[in-house]
Assembly symmetry: C2
Homo-oligomer: 356 residues x 2
DNA sequence: TTGAAAGCGCTAACAA
DNA sequence: TTGTTAGCGCTTTCAA
């Protein structure tokens, strides 16, 4: 009789082979019992389960992925999780993925094409079953096109690269911007500013992000339609809260001060508020503010902020669904999902048609 | 001569075998050239690289993981990415991981033990090399202990389970709460309230979260030390912004209204502000507010909020470092890293020692 | 420097 | 219902 080495806790987690031996069945039977496929007798199942429990067996899903060709993992290529908008998108995405048995690996790109390229490469090598991407640039996107050509399931969210043949989940940025500005014009504003997103580009030229561009185009069209001209000082390019603050402070101190400022996203709106406070201006009496995206703090500033709210969480769940659908039906026609935004009137815009 | 089928884009991504054949070398040589290990002649390397480029080869890292036993992936088990605090922790964590070549898969638990158990199981099955966890409960934690016993590299962040033998990365919650409250007492406040975190538990009893408990204990000790009693109405249990709002509104409308309210985290502070506005009270004249964690909006409320700032991003990078260190030295002594908080005085606390 | 071959842990096709 | 066997694509001995 050979000496038996006892270890209550296996040093190197046990494999299905150990479980099979412990249960006195073949590897295949053990695998069937554990994996819940094929047919297994009650007796065998009990024995296998007992053995698995005893050994603390945990299925090795990398081995499983190896043979099934599926990792049950999705990737997410976004600018920055610590941006509240993306955080909510990711939450929706992971929830949608999880409810179908998928997990998600997260990659931040900081709106940088190089990071996006690298992240895409890593996710591809990890053989994720699908990828959510908020493209860093409308222009530098060959890597994305190449992934699609290779059959990678991809869904673009928040923004999209024109001509890239993937599913897309966005809100109606153009229309939302247009309607909001139209509303503000309708209550008497003629001098409306809207700093423009400008992120550092790949080779020095700016990254164009469709969602931002569309919001801004909506703004410009609403202005033009009302016969209002937009001085270039009203649309300074900026990147991030502090640059916006500086840019807006400049225009608020100028002779041609705007009566309203439109924040194209959460960080822009924060920068605008910073500038307004810095100039000791009263909202909405001296200057009106409205923004895109309804984050938690919008009800806690005084006056509470009027915004175009977008369903960030739903963007994420919808993207997960689209991706899962694409994975299961690679050749189904591509779809673009446009989710509705909601105009939330609070108190940060002055009605100039009323005197007093 | 056999007919040659040309495909500019391989349908099923090519394997190292295809690359080897294309380059006219063995699989091993191709693998060495591509993987950058072993020794390969210049000639062979060039041919392999050319072949790989031509075929659009992408290494299959699940196969690689299969043999190396490493997935180069970390897991993160946190309450909720859309909570700004965790979003920043995760950003730090992914940055730290990424700089060492690791990616991270994200699992939200909503402070729920069941989700945590399930998430841990999935991450284990995926064979992640290490796991960051913000434990949902101080009590129900056998699953974590079991993972540690099985040799899983684990780091606890923000809070920890007493007695669980892992690395820990936290801020000094007790001291931070204690000092802040002491400061507020020093400027004349005697009636200070602090709603207490209470999350739905596993079997109905509350989940205790060490970070929250410690902050609260710091508060109570500071009060006791000053000889101040804390009526139980000042520490209502609540969960999330709206419950806090309700609870605080109740005490603000009572005869024994507190002169200051301490928000134990971001969502609590928001709930407190909601309540204060709802009761039409002026900050800090009628009621003072201070909170834990310095999120973006704290400078945009009026008056700007005095807070205990914690280095959420650094918590994440530190956790990544600790985890990577643990992975490479499984038997090194466990460490607890206590990161410093910063008291940021802004304007939301009234000095009651000054009249006027 | 290179190649042949074994094997990581699992699933799946096929036989029994 | 069960067992046998052949891989999945890679890394890694071990020889040559």
């Amino acid at each position: 009789m050979l000496p038996v080495v006892q270890a209550s806790v296996p040093a190197q987690g046990s494999s299905i082979f150990d479980v099979a031996r412990e249960a006195g069945v073949s590897r295949a039977t053990a695998a069937r019992a554990l994996g819940g496929y094929g047919s297994v007798s009650e007796e065998a199942r009990r024995r296998v389960e007992a053995a698995a429990a005893k050994l603390g067996y945990s299925v090795n899903s990398v081995a499983r992925s190896m043979v099934t060709g599926q990792t049950m993992t999705l990737g997410a290529l976004i600018a920055d999780v610590s941006n509240p908008f993306f955080a909510r998108v990711i939450r929706g995405f992971t929830d949608g993925a999880r409810s179908a048995g998928y997990d998600v690996v997260l990659v931040n790109t900081d709106e940088t094409v190089d990071s996006e390229i690298h992240g895409l490469k890593v996710l591809t090598e990890k053989r994720v079953d699908g990828i959510l991407v908020a493209p860093a640039s409308e222009e530098a996107s060959e890597h994305l096109a190449s992934a699609v050509d290779h059959g990678q399931a991809l869904v673009q969210v928040d923004r999209f690269v024109p001509g890239l043949d993937t599913d897309v989940v966005v809100v109606n940025n153009y229309e939302s911007g247009y309607q909001a500005v139209k509303r503000v014009i309708a209550i008497g504003h003629t001098r409306i500013a809207a700093p423009l997103q400008r992120t550092r580009g790949h080779d020095g030229h700016a990254n164009l992000i469709s969602s931002m561009l569309e919001r801004h185009q909506g703004y410009r069209d609403a202005m033009a339609e009302a016969g209002l001209t937009v001085p270039s000082a009203y649309t300074p390019p900026a990147h991030g809260r502090s640059e916006v603050r500086t840019a807006v402070a400049g225009m608020l101190n100028s002779a041609d001060r705007p009566t309203a400022v439109f924040g194209l996203d959460d960080s822009f709106t924060l920068g605008i508020i910073d500038a307004v406070y810095g100039c000791d201006l009263v909202v909405p009496d001296q200057v009106s503010i409205f923004g895109f995206d309804d984050t938690e703090w919008t009800t806690v500033v005084r006056p509470p902020l009027s915004v175009i709210a977008q369903p960030a969480y739903d963007l994420g769940t919808c993207a997960a669904q689209a991706l899962l659908h694409r994975i299961h039906a690679p050749d189904a026609p591509r779809q673009t999902h446009v989710l509705p935004t909601t105009w939330i009137e609070r108190g940060s815009i002055r009605d100039l048609t009323r005197t007093g």
